[in-house]
Each structure stands twice: as C-alpha cells, then as structure tokens.
Symmetry: C2
Subunit: 173 residues, 2 copies
C-alpha cells in the first residue's frame, strides 16, 4: 500500500514545469495532486433472453432501475470489476461476453466500460445497494424509470447488437 | 473547479460504513480519499502502412520507443485524449479508426485504451517528451528497444487486425 497523500500544507492550482494542465500543488511539500477521470464498470446481464435490472436503494436516483455497475477498484481488471459489481448488487454470478460499449460522461470525468454478460445461475438476491431485482423482456423495460441515460444507452446497444458474435464497442449516441 | 481535498489531519486506512474496501480517511475532517485506477489513452498511428513511434525523452525508459499515449485528463473523452497525446508527443494530427485494445496493468491500477489511427498530415515533430520520431515498417520495428510490454502488445494486435474493418478490442495476451 502506498503512503497517504502528503497534502498537509496550503494547496494551490499551478501548472507544474513541463506540464500542460493546472494541478493542485501543496506549497509546503510540493506534492502534486493529479486528479484523473474515473472508470465505471458494469454489465447488461441476461438470463434466457431477459434483462436483469436492479432497483436502486442508494442515492442518486433511489427507486429507479439500473444495471449492476460501479467504480473500478485499485488493482482490479475491468472484467473482474464488472463481475464483482454483479455479485455485490444482485448476488449474480455472471460470464462476460464482450465489451458492449465505452461511454464517456466528460463533464463528470467518467469513462464507462459496459460488458455483455449472461447469468450463470438464476438464483439472485439484492445487495445492500439494491431494493429489489427483476428480469424484464426488452419490450417490458421500464424506460421511464431508468436511473441514468447510460442505462438507456446500454440496453438499446445490447438490443441492437445481441445477434453479433464479435462486438465492436458502441459509444455515446 | 472543486475545492482542494481536505486531508489536513492524520490519515488512516478504514473501511467506511457500507463500503467493501479500505479507504484513506482523515481522522480530523472524516474526508474519505477514494483512489481509483487511472486511464491511459494512446494510439497506434500509421501513415501509408508505416508505424509512427516516438523515442522517449523522459523517464521511465528514456531512449526507448513507444507510441503516443498518456493519462486521460479530467473532462476529456478517451478519443480526444488519444488525439491530444499524438499532438503533444509527435505534433501529429490523427484520425481514429476504432478501439484496438483494452489492456489492464492491474498491479499498477492502469487501464489502457488504445486506438487504431491514421496520420492526416505527414509533417510531424517531436514534443518535449520525445527525443525523436520515426516511421517503421512492421518488420523493422525495434522490438528490443520498445519502452513497455504494452507497446509490444499494441503493435502486434495492430498487425493481426489491420485488415479488419470492425474491430473487436484485444486484451492483454
């Protein structure tokens, strides 16, 4: 484990020598605090052609539907992260079947890596971040109760590519 | 611009309530410092079938060859980041032609998004992070003088997929 960040002194915005962007720099210890975009990993999970969605139990968008997804952790591959999120949020053991999409929410500095996945075992149970789980046919997806635009995008991209064996990842519409 | 991180007090590793991983927590202000994997964006750039490589002028691996790549910046899309790196490191204006690979260096907490790209204008010039630039045919790539394993992977993956119109991104070998 690396040592804690040394940002004890006054922190100011500066462009470090040889750099092109402003960074937060500690004027005491000269530590430069690089801030980077964050990676969300998740999956569109199906079982016998039906889509597994989770009703959110935590903010933002409590009560709205999403797919299992969350922040990639340190020292984790995106594939392992997507599997971990499915297990944590839905008790779902999944197998990945290609990278469905790379979405960017630039204004939030988020890059979403969304996989296509199938459920290995229909026994699922909501984790603490989910109120409930449900399997929907594509036609019955509650489009007006989805938590985020990226959930819309991923479900539509899944539908449009579901017969493709080799996926070319989609991007933001 | 968000305020500077408030990590003035003693920082300890704790698992916050409802969380699954240890985080750095300030015992004075209770600020939780989430650390996340970082995204590297880059491209395998060709011009008339030859590969553009940059001889590194900065550590690590000074003097070794790499493709234009670097950390994605806040509020930037991966595509824009890959184009920016090509411009900064090689003065190269490029057009992207698909996501070539998603590599993970889990032990370094890095996810690499590598694109296939073509050069729009053969006039290139090394940026401050490059000693020199050169165009190589695939057969003449200096395999023993490449800076990182991921450079090997990307060049090989480029070669193996160069006739594919629709790319399915490769992963670590």
């Amino acid at each position: 484990m690396s040592p804690p960040p040394r940002l004890q002194g006054p922190v100011h915005l500066r462009v470090p020598e040889g750099d092109t962007h402003e960074r937060k720099v500690c004027l005491d210890c000269h530590h430069i605090c690089y801030e980077n975009p964050r990676i969300i990993v998740g999956s569109v999970v199906t079982y016998e052609g039906r889509l597994l969605l989770c009703r959110r139990a935590i903010p933002p968008r409590i009560g709205f539907w999403t797919m299992p997804a969350g922040f990639l952790e340190l020292q984790e591959t995106p594939e392992d992260g997507a599997k971990r999120e499915a297990l944590e949020e839905a008790g779902a053991r999944i197998e990945l079947d290609g990278l469905l999409a790379v979405y960017t929410l630039a204004e939030r500095s988020q890059v979403h890596l969304m996989y296509r996945a199938t459920l290995l075992d229909p026994q699922v149970s909501p984790g603490i971040e989910s109120q409930s789980l449900e399997f929907f046919s594509y036609e019955d997806v509650p489009w007006d109760e989805l938590a985020f635009p990226s959930v819309h995008w991923a479900l539509k991209d899944w539908f449009e590519t579901k017969s493709e064996k080799h996926l070319t990842p989609r991007r933001n519409p």
